[in-house]
Symmetry: C2
Subunit: 201 residues, 2 copies
């Protein structure tokens, strides 16, 4: 703003809110005003929740999940089949798969994908930890659930390679038509994969 129309603390709040993914400079101002109007119901509780998260958040040293305990609630959940590891790129993928609720397994978060162009090599990802976990011998299946992108698939190949000497079943997510998807909007690669992996009705 050209001239000062509000306090520096509020300007600072707007600046920081603009860095939150999903918010830009304009929506950060809207968000800040909304927070200020809902001071007791929202600004106070959110400020407190952020402080709590800041103090208590931990990255699970075993699987890389985000939690307030280490090892995380997924790793210590005895109702899960801890002999099946779902390997994901990011914590958000772990949460997405859990929302689907299809498996009752353990996870391993890589923290990204191999990307030589961005200078991200195997040592920048949590791949060593995965091999160690599999080497411990209690894992019977590793499901590689990385994104179907070039980087994701490169990472999948690398991991498969690294695990090749160990006696463990390695699987990957199926490719095909997304549920609810329209064929006309899908790319040739997806359609080819869906045709090849067709199943009997």
């Amino acid at each position: 703003m050209a001239k000062r129309v509000t306090g520096p603390e509020i300007e600072k709040l707007i600046q920081l809110l603009a860095k939150v993914p999903g918010l830009g400079p304009r929506s950060a101002r809207r968000a800040a005003l909304h927070l200020i109007k809902k001071k007791e119901q929202l600004l106070g509780p959110l400020s407190h929740a952020m402080g709590e998260a800041y103090d208590k958040v931990k990255i699970c040293s075993r699987c890389g999940n985000v939690d307030t305990v280490d090892p995380c609630s997924v790793c210590t959940d005895e109702r899960r089949d801890q002999s099946v590891l779902i390997v994901v790129e990011d914590v958000s993928d772990l949460w997405a798969l859990e929302r689907a609720g299809a498996m009752n397994a353990a996870y391993h978060v890589l923290g990204g994908t191999l990307s030589p162009l961005d200078g991200i090599g195997p040592d920048d990802l949590n791949i060593r930890g995965l091999i160690d976990r599999v080497n411990e011998g209690n894992i019977r299946e590793v499901i590689i659930a990385v994104n179907a992108t070039v980087e994701g698939q490169t990472t999948a190949h690398y991991i498969t390679d690294q695990l090749s000497g160990i006696d463990v079943k390695i699987t990957r997510l199926a490719h095909g038509v997304p549920v609810g998807g329209e064929l006309d909007y899908l790319d040739e690669g997806t359609l080819t994969a869906a045709l090849r992996a067709r199943t009997a009705i």
Copy 2:
């Protein structure tokens, strides 16, 4: 989430972030993960900025602007022409007009518009304060800069009515084609207004 995959503090943070305008349940999760990953650069500073805003934010008792001082920096700015009052619905409108930077005037924030259906009458808005300010005698022009909606125009009429006995110039924003706007996409009302208020080249 069906089963617990993260700590209750983090769930709480996601729940509260989802109430911020511009974020929904899904983007709140993304935002929370981003904040946690950028713990030192973003989560900590944002938590602190929210605490500061919570402690220090004030609504200006004179004009209704949001600031950390009362009266606000706009009301006490001696470089502004304090004899011209721009009447707006919301603080966000004040900020938007200041970004345009076209006027160097004072403001008056109504805090909404008259809306009988929602039970919002004159006493729910800061109209009494406006009349008092004009009655003090130091105001020479009141620019009614409410939204061009039915509620906005109703409110404008009501204010004009209330100020009719006082010796003050009352103006409103011009209607017309938005700068950069295409005629084909504009409604009939706007086009009619733009034609009627046509100016010589």
